[in-house]
């Protein structure tokens, strides 16, 4: 059961960090960084199967194939933004985390705009 391993890994890292935090605060942050890296690479193996299943959906999407890639891209961007923003928050630097989140939101918005345009055109087409 992978989720149990991830859970215990997280708890073990937190206990280690508490121990080391008093005398060496910076090492506490390194342990947290290492742990989130380990957990993230574990979770990434799930994403390989998810994207392979999504590839099988390719056949059903007629001319909307690009939206599937866009969806994956958006997931990737949010994934990285979450990873970096939470790490910065953990280290106590909320402002940098806010900047990263803002840039993530903007890039996702920028990706989604073309779809909005096509939606409006199709609506106009129905409207006549």
């Amino acid at each position: 059961m992978d989720i149990v391993k991830i859970g215990f890994l997280g708890i073990a890292a937190v206990l280690l960090t508490i121990q080391i935090k008093q005398s060496r605060p910076e090492f506490g942050f390194y342990i947290i960084l290492g742990t989130s890296l380990c957990i993230l690479t574990m979770v990434l193996s799930y994403f390989y199967n998810i994207s392979s299943v999504l590839e099988s959906f390719y056949g059903y999407l007629g001319e909307y194939k690009s939206y599937l890639n866009l969806l994956l891209k958006v997931i990737g961007v949010t994934y990285i933004c979450e990873f970096c923003a939470n790490l910065c928050k953990d280290a106590g630097y909320g402002s940098i985390a806010g900047q990263i989140e803002l840039s993530g939101k903007l890039s996702v918005l920028m990706m989604g705009l073309p779809i909005l345009l096509t939606l409006l055109e199709t609506l106009k087409g129905y409207g006549g």
């Binding site: 073990a12 060496r24 090492f27 890296l37 380990c38 994403f47 890639n69």
Partner: protein, 64 residues
């Protein structure tokens, strides 16, 4: 990507702490500071390749 990296970082942290205390109490303040820097460099040399590999896989996986 083994779980051992976390415990390696923790071990370096504990070592640096103890040696730092020893150095500090024997009057070698600047050596203790340099020791902390050495610890930083060692941990970074371990962690940075994993970070790079992680971002690489995310880019290829999500075709960013």
């Amino acid at each position: 990507m083994s779980i051992g990296i976390i415990f390696k970082i923790a071990a370096v942290g504990i070592l640096v702490t103890i040696l730092g205390q020893v150095l500090k109490h024997s009057g070698r303040e600047e050596h203790a500071f340099l020791l902390g820097l050495a610890g930083l460099v060692i941990v970074m040399s371990w962690v940075v390749p994993y970070i790079y590999e992680l971002f690489e896989t995310i880019q290829t996986l999500f075709s960013l």
